[in-house]
């Protein structure tokens, strides 16, 4: 067991930049990637980790719903509180701008879906200093608007123009929730590679549920792999998942 975990460990994604902006289409799995990435970074222990929920387009299933859990792991969460926590209003806390400009430790920004959700970044774009951030496109090839190369390239264009920022990499996160198979995730990686060739953006990492990505099929995958544990659950999944 120890050997296995050591083998898998060295394939985890690592970053030299202090700000990780997680962006993508609706349902690409951005929030799940963002919270799991934060967890992995805090486990790596090299620097303090903060996560800000910038999703102003979705009313439910946002990373702020995992904030208690993340706080208990020592991750600073920057989210609207009180009644505003439940609003779908364009509220960006002043702390977000502060955290971007101070650049202490690692800051993960979980941004809302599509170009509509990424628009929030344009109001912050002047605070970002070039070469200090990664902006990662989370791709799910099982979503209708990013099911093929053209759709993905359009998503990149749309988000870059609404956010006024440029992508630096791709996260291959193709899944079908609980119906995901290893083949689905690997097909998604193939799509991500195609997008990578056309856009000149590297595949930063592949992410997937732990039980999927620990299959033998992933042994020869040549990109880092982030194992996911689902933290944003539906109410009927919550207590079953605890067992």
């Amino acid at each position: 067991m120890l050997v296995i975990s050591l083998v898998k460990q060295h394939r985890l994604p690592t970053f030299s930049k202090s700000i990780l902006i997680i962006v993508g289409g609706y349902g690409s799995g951005k929030s799940e990637v963002a919270v799991n990435l934060s967890r992995q970074l805090v486990n790596a222990g090299s620097a303090p980790v903060a996560i800000a929920d910038l999703d102003i387009v979705n009313p439910y299933f946002r990373s702020r719903e995992a904030s208690e859990q993340l706080t208990s792991l020592g991750i600073r969460t920057i989210n609207p509180t009180g009644g505003q926590k439940y609003a779908d209003l364009p509220i960006i806390l002043p702390e977000v701008k502060g955290a971007i400009e101070q650049r202490q430790g690692v800051l993960v920004l979980d941004v809302g879906g599509d170009d509509a959700g990424a628009r929030v970044l344009s109001s912050l774009s002047e605070s970002f200093v070039e070469d200090t951030y990664e902006m990662l496109l989370v791709l799910n090839g099982n979503r209708p608007f990013t099911a093929d190369l053209d759709g993905c390239l359009k998503m990149i264009d749309d988000i870059e123009s609404s956010s006024r920022l440029k992508f630096t990499g791709i996260v291959s996160n193709t899944h079908l929730l609980e119906e995901t198979t290893a083949q689905i995730a690997l097909d998604g990686l193939e799509l991500a590679r195609q997008v990578s060739r056309r856009s000149d953006l590297p595949v930063a990492f592949l992410s997937g549920l732990r039980e999927i990505i620990e299959c033998d099929e992933f042994d020869n995958v040549d990109v880092p792999i982030l194992p996911l544990e689902r933290l944003l659950l539906k109410p009927w999944e919550s207590s079953a998942g605890d067992e």
Partner: protein, 364 residues
């Protein structure tokens, strides 16, 4: 077609297109706006009409006008928006027009909040507008079922020439699940709208589509025509499902929509602890599966019925009416956008079981 991952609202939109929807009228409101967002892109691709009105009042009356042409038309909204549409829904029922109205419910009353709720049960099932009319009401519990029922809604609206509603709590609209669309849309044959719709009176007698009948005999006659359709719905459109109903159950839970899925999780966990509970899930809320609930609730082994809702004992009234006092009916629910957890459901079951033990001890 392979499975895709879709948000409930998008899946509903796509299902409507595949069921032949040609006109969609909308006004944005959380948590259903993605239906409009999706159709703003897709509707023009299929040559249909997408129109955002200036308010829900406008939208509902656009729907009224468009429905009178016999085309497949629909709208989606959420609770406060659906309240604004009630007048036109009553008019459409009175004028015998087919239209599909989808309510992705949020907490109320008033402006309420934006989190999931089932508190529009009375409004949907008992008729939110005025007059002797009914809307056929379906309630999905998964995104796949939302797809299937959306398609069915269009068929039923045409079959009965009556407004048909689908109601789902906010989660139905907002959650992502894997869905599959049928390769082609098939439905049983329907009478052609050409027989009644406002299609242009060239070479035929003009038709007037209206809900105004000043002569009381004429109005009562119209009400009786509607009533005949509602009796047919009761005979033909009851839909329901049961889960782990067995002779070992002492308690029968009744829940609909995603609330039923939470109850299923609770039931699985109770089963693992040696407690056997069954679930009855109405899929059609009007017509309500009265006979089916009565049959399940009055099995010898069932001691009591527990209705669980994301509202304050609204469906419970129909459950009580169906059971006719032959079993005690208990209620548990949360509102305001708070969703009962499987833990809370289990606690309610344990409470009922221990209360029964106490009462049987007393008797002995």
């Amino acid at each position: 077609m392979a499975k895709v991952l879709m948000k409930g609202n998008e899946a509903i939109a796509e299902a409507a297109l595949r069921a032949g929807a040609e006109g969609y009228f909308c006004y944005p409101i959380t948590p259903q706006t993605e239906v409009a967002e999706y159709l703003s892109k897709r509707m023009s691709e299929v040559g249909g009409m997408f129109l955002q009105g200036e308010s829900e009042l406008a939208v509902a009356n656009m729907l009224f006008g468009a429905a009178s042409t016999g085309k497949r038309v629909f709208t989606t909204s959420s609770s406060p928006g659906i309240s604004l549409m009630q007048e036109a829904i009553s008019y459409m029922a009175g004028a015998e027009l087919p239209a599909v109205i989808i309510n992705i419910m949020r907490g109320g009353p008033g402006l309420g909040g934006i989190l999931p709720a089932q508190a529009d049960y009375f409004q949907a099932v008992k008729g939110g507008g005025h007059g002797d009319y009914r809307t056929l009401v379906l309630a999905p519990s998964t995104v796949q079922e939302a797809v299937d029922l959306t398609m069915l809604c269009f068929h039923l609206a045409q079959k009965y020439r009556n407004p048909v509603m689908m109601i789902g709590d906010g989660m139905i609209g907002q959650m992502m699940e894997a869905v599959e669309f049928p390769e082609s849309y098939e439905e049983p044959p329907l009478p052609s709208p050409d027989e009644w719709a406002a299609t242009g009176a060239r070479n035929r007698k003009a038709r007037i589509i209206k809900s105004l009948f000043l002569d009381p005999v004429g109005l009562e006659n119209n009400v009786l025509i509607l009533e005949k359709k509602y009796q047919q719905m009761i005979r033909e459109e009851v839909r329901c499902e049961s889960y782990k109903i067995s002779a070992k159950n002492k308690i029968l839970i009744v829940a609909y929509g995603t609330m039923a899925r939470i109850c299923q999780t609770a039931i699985d966990e109770l089963e693992a602890d040696g407690v056997s509970v069954g679930l009855f899930r109405p899929i059609s809320l009007y017509p309500f599966p009265e006979k089916e609930i009565l049959r399940e609730a009055t099995r010898k082994n069932i001691k009591s019925v527990l209705t669980i809702e994301m509202s304050m004992a609204q469906m419970m009234e129909d459950v009580e009416r169906a059971i006719q006092g032959r079993r005690p009916v208990h209620f548990y629910g949360r509102s305001g956008g708070i969703v009962p957890t499987p833990e809370e459901v289990k606690e309610q079951v344990h409470k009922l079981l221990s209360a029964k033990r106490h009462s049987s001890k007393k008797k002995s």
